[in-house]
Amino acid sequence: MARPAGRPREVLLRLDQVVKHFPVGRGVLSGRDADAVHAVDGVSLEVYRGETLGLVGETGCGKSTLARCATRLHTLTGGRVIFDGHDISTLSRRQLRPYRRQLQMVFQDPYGSLNPHRRVGSIIGDPLAVHGVAAGAGRRRRVQELMELVGLNPEHYNRYPAEFSGGQRQRVGVVRALALRPKLIVCDEPVSALDVSIRAQILNLLADLQNELDLTYLFISHDLSVVRQVSDRVAVMYLGKLAEVAPVGELYRRPRHPYVAALLSAVPVPDPDLADRRERIILAGDVPSPVHPPAGCRFHPRCPKARPVCVEVAPPLVARGGDGADHPTACHFPVEPGDDLAHAHAAIDQPDQLAAGGDLPRVAGSNR
């Protein structure tokens, strides 16, 4: 889905220090929030018109929450969402309605996202009905045209979701998002629930639709290969914050954040010789709890390059070293060419490291 370079870039969606906390363990009597899951903690991101921005991260890093903040399905705890020049961060559901025509979402679960008690024709016609675009026979015709556009048999208009396969259901989800000809579609893991053989179909469908209808995608996935295939730029999230944002080629060729480098080293490669020669960076420990995220850089308890300043100061997301402005990294000590992360040792005590044998390429700091 590469776009011609050098074309003027217009920001379609701007996230400005978006924060979303979910209260947990709310006191019954006090009514005060005891704790909160810091799902998204100050994310700033721009999506340019016509591009596909990939957003990757592990399960639980807050990428789906960020998607629901961007589409305002969640109310924000803090920060702003600016869509096409309009601040939509505090609008009510009613006030949001006009923006819904231009800002749509494709959901992850092709089974959960379609109401089992409604016919697909009526599900796809929903956006048209809600916005009063078409009614009666006209709506039916529009829906059938749309079904044809995404490769569904228009004669299946009266069928129920249970009568479709997973791939077909996801096409229904895609076409529901398309019905109003939106400018931006947020795709929340649109292919993770699908068989590998079906994935390519849906990804190609999304690519074709982007070319035909001039769409912009915010494409969320935990699958690095999928993101590499579809994205123009990629943003990597870790524990509610962005670690690195870069054009897709640059990120995969020369990751700057140690976390991103570790992630990329874990992508399976089809060539067994290459896989043998490659050295994986194995991070110690688990992702910390988002209820009590680490101070300073959130990655410091697991980072092979961590130093005392990482514990104290959260690194801002800015271009580091000789990187271009389109390649910011949230790291005090970004990865340089020639760094051997697999055998690097952090200069701080890290709580989660295992007392593993020295011959394992573990990222371990001290020698307990």
Partner: protein
């Protein structure tokens, strides 16, 4: 899902209306499962019979020549003044006033079915509205409504029914209102719980993202998914309401005599069961058959609507 022969149905529909393939929705599938269930068929047949008997009560009365409240002190009572047993003129015997039990039971069926159905409808509508509002709106509304439902469910209902009837006087309307009032909360509580869980489904989120308003989400997305459990609960509520009505009548709090009701007949038979076995037996059997049929039908409806959770299939729960 069943994949048996979608071809014939599809081709038939397509032939009738080109470009249309009729889908088989969850209701259609449940109906087909229900039709193949022998217990459901038997229960439904019994209920049809009972309804037909209730409808035909005046005709039967005309045929045997006895009105429901006609007393026959000469032929309907023994010289000692006791009820007479089943005979050619009184097929199910007579009661303590020399009235025809058969005719009275048939007329009693009208009261029982009327009260059972109307009270259930009232309770269902109230339960769905309150439960949906509580579950969907949440917050303070939910807190108040949910506590109110708990309160209704924790009332000693018979005592309160006695109090209400003694204030407003015994009548058919009061009976139905009292029964509905003590039944809706059970439905409301289930509806509230279901609404809470359905509200978090992705298709509800998808509906928001399309721009739907609250009413649309409530009635287009959530309500159709509530109908299955509500239908089961309502079917099972009918026999409860019938027994409730019989209880009220038994205690003399229901429909005023001489209108025949099953509960009232059972109550009248109390002093005579040792000398006239038919007097309590036949009204009791009518009550038993009706409630049993409704209960079995309710169970079958539940199994048909959710075959994965059924006892017969087993194992396949989610």
């Amino acid at each position: 899902m069943t994949v048996t022969a979608p071809g014939e149905a599809a081709t038939a529909a397509a032939a009738a209306r080109p470009g249309a393939i009729q889908g088989r929705g969850p209701w259609r599938l449940a109906w087909e499962r229900l039709r193949r269930d022998p217990v459901a068929t038997a229960a439904a047949a019994t209920l049809v019979l009972i309804v037909a008997a209730a409808v035909a009560a005046p005709e039967v009365a005309h045929a045997v020549g006895h009105g429901p409240n006609d007393q026959y002190p000469d032929v309907g009572l023994t010289p000692a003044g006791l009820p007479v047993g089943p005979s050619r003129s009184f097929l199910l015997g007579t009661d303590n006033l020399g009235r025809d039990l058969l005719v009275r039971i048939l007329y009693g069926a009208r009261i029982s079915l009327l009260v059972g159905v109307v009270a259930t409808l009232l309770a269902t509508v109230a339960g769905v509205v309150v439960g949906l509002a509580a579950g969907y709106l949440g917050g303070l509304v939910d807190l108040v409504l949910a506590r109110f439902m708990d309160m209704v469910l924790s009332f000693p209902y018979l005592l309160l029914a006695i109090a209400l009837v003694s204030v407003f006087g015994a009548s058919l309307t009061i009976s139905m209102l009292v029964i509905a009032f003590f039944s809706w909360a059970a439905i409301g509580r289930v509806v509230r719980g279901q609404t809470l869980s359905i509200r978090e489904k992705e298709y509800v989120e998808a509906s928001w993202s399309v721009g739907s308003g609250s009413l649309r989400v409530m009635f287009v997305e959530i309500l159709p998914n509530l109908l299955a459990p509500v239908l089961v609960l309502a079917t099972l509520l009918v026999p409860t309401a019938i027994v409730f009505e019989a209880t009220l009548s038994f205690l003399g709090l229901g429909v005023a005599p001489p209108t025949p009701t099953w509960g009232g007949m059972l109550s009248e038979s109390l002093a005579f069961y040792q000398v006239a076995w038919w007097f309590p037996l036949f009204p009791g059997l009518a009550l038993l058959a009706t409630t049993l049929a409704f209960n079995l039908l309710g169970d079958s409806v539940r199994d048909a609507l959710d075959p994965t959770a059924g006892r017969s299939t087993g194992g396949g729960g989610r």
